[in-house]
């Protein structure tokens, strides 16, 4: 049976169950308003390792282990690990996979990786190629700063649109909809959360070149994917309780709302952004959080738990990614962006 609908979307024949999640965050994220939703808060810069990169790797590995352990499935019962991170050659994910010994497909979608991996994971399961898939994404402030921006100790001011890379790793464990494990058997799992649709984003570039204004660069990609999702599935904004974007930040969110309004879709009352809710105001971060880990931990920690608790019944989770590198940016290229979306629903099957 052909499961693709419209130009860019897929509808799963049998909704794919999100069985459990694992989240590890750094100390600034741990002080934020979502702190109670995270599994592990690491207060040490390097978590006992000797570099920021190794710390991120450890977070990634632990996030996957936590999700798997909650589900009661053995590590070697997980068919594939899908995921990535922000560092060159996605070393965090690859080296964490070395420790986990799960067959691994590395993905790079910049900050959209969490949505990309859950979308692909769900497709593998619904296609009959897997029973259980782990999806994970991570980022680390210090490691990303070193690679993309300036040295940590270099004195200078943030621009008013600067976003802070979230230190954290989030993972999901996906399984067939026929898995009927209940919370009585495994107290820490999610009972009724399913992925039903996915929309694969196109690379969209509206010509923004300012690397300190990622939110504005990514907003058009988010708009494109969202409207495409509505068109492909025949759904409208009224069908959703929540449109949650990955890391547009406060200014990027404003631009997204505006772009959608220009096309006759009002999402303002239903939109939240992971980057806007992860940090507390006291940290004085100009425009909120960013990075693969941002949408990873907010989705894995916060969104799924709220869904399972009946606070929402249908969300469109859309993680956005800026696909540039410092090299192409220095060569004068604008910031190409992408957004992938998945419909996550509370279903009692």
């Amino acid at each position: 049976m052909y499961k693709k609908i419209g130009r860019q979307s897929v509808a799963f024949k049998e909704p794919v169950r999100i069985l459990s999640s694992g989240t590890v965050v750094g100390k600034n994220e741990g002080k934020g308003p979502l702190s109670t939703f995270f599994d592990v808060i690491v207060n040490d810069d390097m978590w006992g390792t000797d570099s920021f990169e190794k710390c991120e790797r450890k977070m990634y590995e632990q996030a996957v282990r936590i999700a798997v352990q909650k589900s009661g499935i053995e590590l070697n019962g997980v068919d594939y690990l899908l995921g990535g991170d922000l560092l060159n050659q996605i070393t965090t994910a690859s080296y964490a996979a070395r420790e986990l010994e799960i067959p691994f497909l590395g993905l790079y979608g910049a900050c959209s990786t969490m949505a990309e991996s859950s979308l692909l994971g769900a497709m593998l399961i619904d296609g009959g190629f897997a029973n259980t898939v782990a999806c994970a994404a991570s980022s680390n402030f210090a490691a990303a700063e070193r690679q993309y921006r300036m040295p940590l100790e270099l004195g200078g001011q943030d621009t008013p649109t600067t976003q802070r890379t979230v230190t954290g790793a989030g993972s999901l464990l996906l399984t067939c909809g026929s898995n009927k494990t209940t919370r009585k058997e495994r107290p820490e799992i999610l009972e009724h959360v399913y992925i039903t649709h996915g929309t694969i984003g196109k690379v969209v570039d509206f010509g923004i070149t300012d690397a300190n204004n990622m939110g504005a660069a990514m907003a058009p990609a988010a708009m494109d994917t969202l409207l495409r999702h509505f068109e492909d599935t025949g759904r409208t904004i009224d069908d959703y309780d929540l449109i949650i974007t990955g890391d547009l930040g406060s200014f990027g969110s404003e631009m997204l709302i505006n772009l959608c309004k220009g096309r006759g879709v009002d999402i303002e009352s239903k939109h939240i952004d992971c980057g806007n809710i992860i940090y507390s105001k006291e940290l004085n971060i100009p425009c909120g959080g960013s990075g693969c880990g941002c949408s990873g931990v907010v989705m894995g920690g916060y969104l799924l738990k709220r869904l399972d608790a009946c606070d929402y019944s249908r969300c469109f989770f859309m993680a956005t990614g800026a696909l540039m590198s410092p090299t192409v940016n220095m060569q004068g290229e604008s910031i190409a962006s992408i957004a992938h979306g998945v419909s996550i629903e509370r279903l009692v099957i």
Binding site: G26, F141, P151, L152, G156, Q157
Partner: protein, 121 residues
């Protein structure tokens, strides 16, 4: 009293040079690396046409401590070298005059890079 005035002028001139840099940072899209390069080259240029010397006389450290002052030393060294040794002096003069600063930067830079660890903020 003279000494006090020296400090007042150092404060005013030094502060003013930094404000020029800040205006460039705030209102143009120049990165700080470009602004630093611009200031050094500007210092060299203003010294070459004879303007910076009078700023240094008035501002003292206020004119020599900002990076334009580094350009001032470079240019002064090159000019003196050119006067004394011709072309060879013109090439060696700049670095000879600024050797103290560059050597100290390498030495202390290395030393503290080895001693301290970066923080994640």
């Amino acid at each position: 009293m003279d000494m006090l005035m020296n400090f007042v002028w150092a404060f005013i001139i030094g502060g003013a040079i930094c404000v020029v840099g800040q205006l460039l940072l705030s209102f143009t899209r120049l990165t700080s690396a470009r602004i630093l390069v611009l200031f050094v080259v500007l210092g060299v240029f203003l010294t070459a046409i004879g303007i910076y010397e009078s700023i240094v006389e008035l501002g003292g450290a206020g004119a020599t401590v900002p990076l334009t002052g580094f350009g001032y030393s470079l240019a002064n060294g090159a000019i003196e070298g050119a006067m004394e040794n011709g072309i060879i002096g013109a090439i060696t003069g700049g670095l000879t005059a600024t050797a103290a600063g560059i050597a100290a930067a390498i030495f202390f830079g290395y030393l503290f890079a080895i001693i301290f660890k970066p923080h994640s903020k």
